[in-house]
């Protein structure tokens, strides 16, 4: 392991790692460009480098993109990648309150901490973690997805029912295209382009970016910019102290992120959403979440960044990538004739460990680069809305198009965005819809596979037995109960204060 550290500390390694981090900063910041796309684009450049340096560059990009996707989420309520969706819930309200720089610094520092935790798991706990992850089958994934859905209680706004309906709309959108079971076309309405399904990234850009652009235009006559830019000396140090003053919150978020990371197929969005949900559930003052609570930003960012290095654990231990960028990194290794998995651990342990160390260094580098750029980025909020709104729309169009080079994705993104903008005043918010779109592709295949398994035994035997299932069901019930109780208390308080308008 120490040999790996010595390799990772070589100046050439650090240089290529920094190049990767800088690329990650650009990729994550632009909506539509995902870490997967960034790593895939970078793979050909790594062929000219030694294997370790090439891997460090890819790892640097992956880790930094998981932070920089928070920047558009915080500043313009448009997640750079799906992993930053939960960051926007509290990050953007902070910007509206003039605390954008604090939110970005918090995202940056917590991303660095999350990466350090995830990388430490990669270096020290890879095998024990994999033993638990291997116990996750389709029913467990189904319950994990259902548990993540309970976050709707925190996102729904005034009406949980409308939030749940929004989540169901998202799940319906995610089911468009060929089904997971028997390749039946669903909700395609005779349009061939819909058979391939809705692009997750294009749909999320539509749900978040387009309504935001239209809201900016609607508010343009009342205010000139998103908020006023204020230089805040010492904000970095103050924010770091605030983040460090919540050690339990940090460890909870980091552990969730790392554990979700090692589950193949789950990935950053689930890690961030589950972590956010847990942060709300364990908080004494739940009402502050969604209105600009710093812990909302850090919960999401710690988890999605801890998830990034952890998603490489199944790759190096079993040869199974835990996320899409990890799959690209696996491809890069294979193109060099190296087979990721236990054999690589034995044949080239130094490479495996130097990669782990470079992920850890990427966390530190991300913090340095992010802190340097934060004061520049925050100036976006003072750009006049009349100029900013069209630019965000332009980036949304190119982002939606870049995913599959298909103009239909752009049409879908625009149509969905206009629909969400129109139904938002009715109390159906974008958050639950986005959540449904993200969770649908995880819950449905797990449900279908579990149903197939249950043909051989029984539905009860598949869904309601096993320690992990029971734990997940219990925390789901607990989460729903906490939301219901909080809502009941809020309503009772409202009634006591305003008896006339009650109900």
């Amino acid at each position: 392991m120490l040999e790996g550290l010595m390799v990772a500390l070589q100046p050439s390694f650090i240089f290529w790692l920094t190049v990767g981090v800088m690329m990650g900063m650009v990729v994550g910041t632009l909506p539509g460009l995902t870490a997967t796309m960034g790593t895939a684009l970078l793979v050909p450049f790594t062929f000219a480098l030694p294997t370790g340096a090439g891997l460090a560059m890819l790892g640097g990009l992956y880790v930094c993109a998981m932070f920089s996707d928070a920047i558009p989420a915080v500043l313009v309520n448009t997640p750079g990648t799906p992993s930053a969706m939960a960051t926007a819930f509290d990050g953007h309200p902070m910007t509206l309150q003039g605390r954008g720089q604090e939110a970005i610094v918090a995202a940056c520092f917590s991303s660095a901490l999350g990466t350090l935790f995830g990388a430490a798991c990669y270096l020290l706990l890879a095998w024990p973690m994999m033993t638990i992850a291997l116990k996750f089958g389709p029913p467990e994934f189904f319950w994990l997805g259902v548990f993540a859905l309970t976050i709707i209680g925190s996102l729904a706004g005034k009406s949980v029912l409308k939030g749940l309906a929004g989540g169901a709309i998202g799940l319906l959108i995610s089911s468009i295209g060929i089904s997971h079971a028997n390749e039946v076309a669903r909700f395609t309405f005779g349009i061939p382009e819909l058979r391939g399904g809705v692009s997750l990234v294009a749909a999320l850009i539509g749900v978040f970016a387009v309504p935001q652009v239209l809201s900016m235009i609607a508010e343009m006559r009342k205010k000139d910019s998103i908020s006023e830019y204020k230089r805040e000396p010492g904000v970095t140090l103050k924010t770091i102290v605030k983040v460090l003053s919540e050690p339990v919150h940090f460890f909870r978020s980091a552990m969730i992120g790392s554990f979700v990371g090692i589950l193949p197929g789950a990935g950053g969005p689930i890690a961030a959403l589950v972590s956010y949900n847990e942060a709300v559930r364990w908080s004494k003052d739940k009402s502050r979440y969604g209105k600009g609570d710093l812990r909302g930003v850090t919960a999401s960012e710690i988890a999605n960044n801890a998830c990034a290095p952890a998603s490489l654990i199944p790759l190096v231990t079993l040869g199974v990538p835990g996320s899409s960028p990890a799959a690209v990194i696996a491809g890069a290794l294979m193109l060099r004739g190296l087979n990721p998995g236990p054999e690589l651990f034995q044949s080239d342990g130094t490479l495996v460990y130097s990669f782990g160390w470079s992920l850890l260094l990427a966390g530190i580098m991300t913090f340095i680069v992010g802190t340097l750029f934060a004061p520049l980025m925050i100036r976006i909020v003072s750009i006049p809305l009349r100029l900013l709104a069209p630019i965000i729309f332009f980036l949304a169009v190119i982002g939606a198009y870049a995913i599959r080079n298909d103009i239909f994705d752009v049409y879908m993104m625009f149509g969905l965005g206009v629909l969400v903008f129109l139904i938002r005043p009715l109390g159906i918010h974008p958050g639950p819809i986005g959540l449904g779109i993200i969770l649908g592709p995880i819950i449905e295949p797990a449900l279908v596979q579990s149903l197939y398994i249950s043909n051989a035994s029984s539905i009860g035997g598949v869904f309601f037995t096993g320690t992990i299932n029971i734990i997940l069901i219990a925390i789901t019930v607990l989460s729903v109960s906490v939301v219901a109780l909080t809502r009941f208390r809020e309503r009772a308080r409202e009634r006591a204060g305003e008896p006339v308008q009650a109900g």
Binding site: V26, L30, M37, L41, L161, K162, L164, A165, A168, I169, L171, L172, S175, S179, A181, N182, V184, R186, F187, V213, L214, I217, M220, R221, L385, R386, L387, P390, I391, F393, F394, L395, V397, I398, Y401, A402, N405, I407, V410, Y411, F414, V418, F421, I423, P425, L426, G427, I428, G436, G440, I443, E444, L447, V448, L451, Y452, V500, Q501, A502, G503
Partner: protein, 159 residues
């Protein structure tokens, strides 16, 4: 101030339409349709609950939550509608004019339309900022990220 409809009732109507479209196009095979059917039935259930809630509120004479449109709102909606129309035109003209020319036109047209105080400086900004945005995006997306954007079909050379 023009009053439209009760918020819950309108939400129920929208949910009912979405749920009906989903149910009308759904199949019955359990494995393929269990998941979307569950979502569609839930949407219909939510719509029904919202209708009941709105009716009960009316019967109990509770303060209704009516959506209304003021004269100011009409101006705002006109801005939004105009932007949507320009955006729609942009998306349709993209394959004819080419991505970069149509993008520049969309950016500058919307910026000019949205500029309230039309001074020489603000109009200049409404041209220069879109131009700079297109140039930066051209370099970044075409030469760094290799995104093959739509090329012009109405005239060559503006791809």
């Amino acid at each position: 101030m023009q009053k439209l409809m009760d918020r819950d009732f309108l939400a129920a109507l929208v949910l009912f339409i979405i749920g009906s479209i989903a149910l009308a196009n759904a199949g019955t095979d359990l494995m393929n349709w269990a998941f979307p059917l569950m979502a569609a039935y839930f949407i219909m259930f939510a719509a029904a609950v919202l209708v009941v809630k709105a009716v009960f509120a009316a019967v109990a004479e509770r303060a209704p939550d009516i959506i209304s449109i003021s004269a100011e709102d009409r101006v705002v909606w006109l801005d939004v509608f105009t932007f949507i129309m320009i955006a729609l035109g942009y998306l349709l003209a993209m394959y004819g004019l080419g991505f970069w020319l149509s993008s520049f036109l969309m950016l500058s047209l919307t910026s000019i339309y949205l500029t309230q105080d039309k001074t020489r400086r603000s109009m200049g900004l409404a041209i220069v900022v879109p131009l700079a945005t297109c140039v930066v995006a051209y370099v970044l997306f075409l030469h760094v990220f290799y995104v093959p954007v739509p090329k012009a079909t109405w005239w060559a050379g503006f791809g």
